[in-house]
Amino acid sequence: MKQYIIRRLLQLIPTMIGISIIVFAISALVPGDFITAKNSPTMTLEKAEQLREIYGLDKPVVQRYFTWIGNMITGNMGDSLQHKQPVTKVVNNYVWNSFVIAFFSLLLSWLIAVFAGVFSAKFQYSLFDKLVTLFIFLCMSLPSFFIGLLFILIFSINMGIFPVGGMTTAGLGAVGWEHIKDVAYHMFLPTVVLTMLSTGSLTRYFRTGMLEVIRQDYIRTARAKGLKERTVIFKHALRNALLPAITLLGFELPALFSGAIILEKVFIWPGVGQVYLESISVRDYPFMLGFTIFLAVLTLLGNLLSDVLYGVADPRIRLK
């Protein structure tokens, strides 16, 4: 096992090099740079040249790549051009806000999906199954900005029970428990919307997994030896049905940190998603590249994690 992990970690290196080349190449191919994106009507040519020199944008692409990758290896992601602060600081400022809603919606959606999936499978083609299917397809197919705005209209403007947006009440300056309560109050709507969007596909996975397992011989055996139905389903069947979900869990790792771009905008949630999107439109290369690499690393680690966990959970799979 240890060997396997070490080998996989070593394999990450060439993969990362490949990713960094592709990401950098794409960013270099995109037209415009940070200076053209400013579109300043008064900027002189000298000033533009001077800025390009300070940012190193006047160098050939290959040289820029090696400078950048050299810095990245030493852990220096550089300064965000737009924020004029180190990239790591900017990421740190925003990423935890994204993490909070992503984490809670992950918990909620898995919880809901497990139960909905299990019962849909158990009572396949029943009214309950059809209603659940209908509802989750509805939630999945609604665009997040639409459902977000709709919720704001209903719950914030008409009923006045939740704030329109933001993460805290302006000027409250609460600390400790009060602060947590205030944030919870603000994150309710975005978390609900995010959960609605992500529960759908998960429920389908669990339903399918469960349907497969439920028809296996050992389930019939379990029933035949007189176990309670609840034990059969939740102990014997569910455990096996959850195995494929481990893979899914690995993919959730980058999603926890990547931020929900559109939803953050609608609910004015100070998450990293909008900052990332903006960095692309203003061509803030250090931030754009730094954060992309950060997500790439998380994705690879997530993959590794799910493979390892799979091996731990399923004795049929042996990692070598």
């Binding site: 995109v30 037209p31 415009g32 053209t36 994106a37 400013k38 579109n39 300043s40 009507p41 008064t42 900027m43 002189t44 040519l45 000298e46 000033k47 533009a48 300070i54 940012y55 051009l81 737009q82 924020h83 004029k84 602060q85 400022n93 925003y94 059809k130 299917t133 209908l134 397809f137 509805l138 197919s141 609604l142 665009p143 900005f145 639409f146 977000g148 705005l149 709709l150 704001i152 914030s156 403007i157 006045g160 704030p163 329109v164 947006g165 933001g166 993460m167 805290t168 302006a170 000027g171 300056g173 905008k265 609608v266 004015i268 949630w269 100070p270 998450g271 909008q274 900052v275 439109s281």
Partner: protein, 592 residues
């Protein structure tokens, strides 16, 4: 059977959701990305705006498209807002946290800078400047020596006195070779500035500190903007920012960007990225302490600006203007709505290296043959004007004397094209010397005007016998095309500065990517730049605009509107296209 039925139901529901999504989409798309007015840099890459009066002036009451629309029923004010007795909340797009007068880069960070710092001069409602921190400013007769006299006894919020040494410190940072902020001090040609920048001199020889309150700056070139450029540099305490400052390394100065200390109206208490900037009134402000104790800049977004105003979560915000948003704000009843012309304009550019656009008759035909009024009305309703010169109608340099309005007239346009030698060919497309009249047109994808522009333009030009092929591109892609000169024609918008000097239409100007060249314009622009007295400048720019109006380097399209919605319990704001709300914060108060 029942399977089929539920299948159908699912499909039906899907379709309903899709329809619902469409209408939701339209709604969310309405507000344009908003950039506030008057800051040079990021105004309107994607917003349109621009000057010049509509061909039909003198609006009657229901055609009123700017000015103040007062609240109709103050009693509708939501309790949430009414209960805030000593706090003013202003909504805006999130500032980045670079609250340094030297390094800010978005208009929103600039708002904070203007609230926390002061400079010798402050902008007035009409775009001119008056003394703020300065007691008086002397300009030598040859226009090369500027003496700024600082008001005595002013202190920063940490208690240290403001001196002109802090001014010198700011100049040194601005001249540093590693300086990457918005200012372009080298363009002001301070004597010895370039040498200092290049590391050849230890000091800027043109800056002389006479005493703690007097500084004399010598420049090497006469420029009408120098007095303002040098006078609007905010003073920041060297004792705080300059502790570890070394030539060629600004990291220590930058690191303090999110913890500003200045002499201004408010003091930043807490900044939470992406959420809010909490400020408290400076009781010792040299111009009198602000009347409202707490000030918060709260992050809002286009999608929900109206909702935040409606629930009272914010008191003031800038909302993008179209007929719907204005109606909605007025309908809320408790908001004062202030609408004024945006400092910028939208235009259609030609590549002047392209032979077909070199003929002024062709350019005129393309202007007259385009129904600009319908294009603009299609997006902004009455809240925009068709323009004919590249200047805001509120600018001091604006003129409509001798300006041709180029009213839509397709017959006249055809005639002009005929005169220019472009004859209608067998397939209905005009041609000259065997070349077909074809325009490859690009437009920025995220500008709402494009949706209205493309269909009308295609229809009009088809009628003229021009083959037009249009594409929409990302803003940066168009910038790139513009920079490399690989375009025929594109739509874009420019921001305007309070001063009319610009490099957009002068030969080889830094911002002139159209290869446009007109000797008369060059001469007059230079004259306007070098003349110090304002009447003389007005005359020079009047002639510039008359010439540009005649020569049409681009098709001038429209100047749109900006709008501030202000909760009616707040009084005293004085906002114009030039004067940000920040400049009236000391006089603003909460009334019941």
């Amino acid at each position: 059977m029942s399977k089929k039925l539920s299948g159908m139901m699912v499909i039906l529901l899907f379709m309903m959701t899709i329809l619902a999504a469409c209408s939701g989409g339209d709604k969310a798309a309405e507000p344009v990305k908003e950039n506030p007015p008057a800051t040079t840099t990021d105004t309107n890459k994607d917003k349109p705006a621009d000057p010049a009066p509509a061909p039909t002036p003198a609006p009657a009451d229901d055609t009123k498209n700017d000015g103040l629309f007062p609240a109709s029923d103050k009693s509708l004010n939501p309790a949430l807002a009414k209960n805030r007795k000593d706090t003013l909340i202003i909504g805006m797009t999130a500032p980045k946290g670079t609250f340094s007068p030297l390094f800010w880069s978005t208009a929103y960070d600039k708002y904070v800078v203007e609230t926390v710092f002061d400079s010798f001069l402050a902008v007035q409602g009409d775009g001119t400047y008056a003394e703020s921190l300065a007691e008086k400013i002397d300009v030598s007769e040859d226009g090369l020596k500027y003496t700024y006299h600082l008001k005595p006894g002013v202190k920063y919020s940490d208690g240290t006195p403001v001196t002109v040494k802090d001014y010198l410190f700011a100049l040194k940072v601005l001249h540093d070779p590693q300086y990457d902020g918005e200012s372009d001090i080298l363009a002001d040609k301070i004597k010895g500035g370039q040498e200092y920048h290049d590391g050849k001199a230890k000091d800027i020889s043109g800056v002389k500190i006479i005493d703690d309150n007097t500084v004399e700056v010598t420049v090497t070139e006469v420029n009408a903007q120098t007095k303002v450029d040098l006078g609007t540099i905010e003073l920041l305490p060297e004792s705080y920012y300059g502790k570890n400052f070394k030539f060629g390394n600004l990291d220590s100065v930058k690191a303090l960007s999110d913890k500003p200390i200045g002499s201004g109206k408010y003091i930043v208490k807490k900044f939470t990225p992406g959420q809010e900037v909490v400020m408290e009134a400076n009781p010792n402000y040299f111009n009198g302490a602000p009347k409202i104790k707490n000030l918060i800049y709260k992050t809002t977004a286009d999608e929900t600006r109206l909702a935040m105003l409606q629930t009272g979560e914010v008191d003031v915000d800038m909302v993008s203007v179209n007929e719907d948003s204005v109606e909605e704000l007025k309908g809320m009843g408790f908001l004062d709505v202030n609408i004024f012309p945006t400092n910028g304009y939208g235009y259609i550019a030609f590549n002047h290296k392209d032979k077909k656009f070199q003929d002024v008759k062709v350019r005129q035909a393309l202007t007259i043959g385009l129904n600009r009024k319908d294009i603009v009305a299609g997006v902004y309703g009455k809240f925009a004007d068709v323009i004919n010169i590249p200047e805001s109608k509120q600018a001091w340099a604006y003129t409509n004397e001798g300006i041709e309005p180029y009213e839509f007239d397709i017959e006249k346009a055809k005639q002009l094209l005929d005169e220019a030698g472009w004859k209608v060919g067998a397939d209905g497309i005009r041609e000259k010397d065997g070349t077909k009249f074809k325009i490859n047109f690009s437009a920025t994808a995220d500008n709402p005007v494009v949706e209205s522009l493309l269909p009308i333009m295609t229809k009009n030009y088809k009628e003229l016998g021009i083959d037009i092929s249009a594409e929409t591109l990302d803003f940066n892609a168009i910038s790139e095309k513009r920079k490399t000169g690989k375009f025929e024609s594109f739509f874009a918008a420019w921001g305007l500065t309070p001063d009319p000097d610009s490099t957009v239409y002068i030969t080889k100007g830094a911002q002139n990517n159209l290869a446009y060249s007109n000797k008369k314009v060059d001469e007059l622009m230079l004259k306007g730049k070098k003349t110090l007295d304002i009447e003389g400048r007005k005359e020079a720019y009047k002639q510039v605009y008359q010439e540009l109006n005649k020569d049409l380097p681009v098709i001038f399209l429209y100047q749109r509107r900006d709008m501030w919605a202000i909760n009616s319990r707040i009084t005293g704001f004085d906002i114009t296209p030039y004067k940000n709300f920040t400049y009236s914060l000391t006089q603003v108060q909460i009334t019941e």
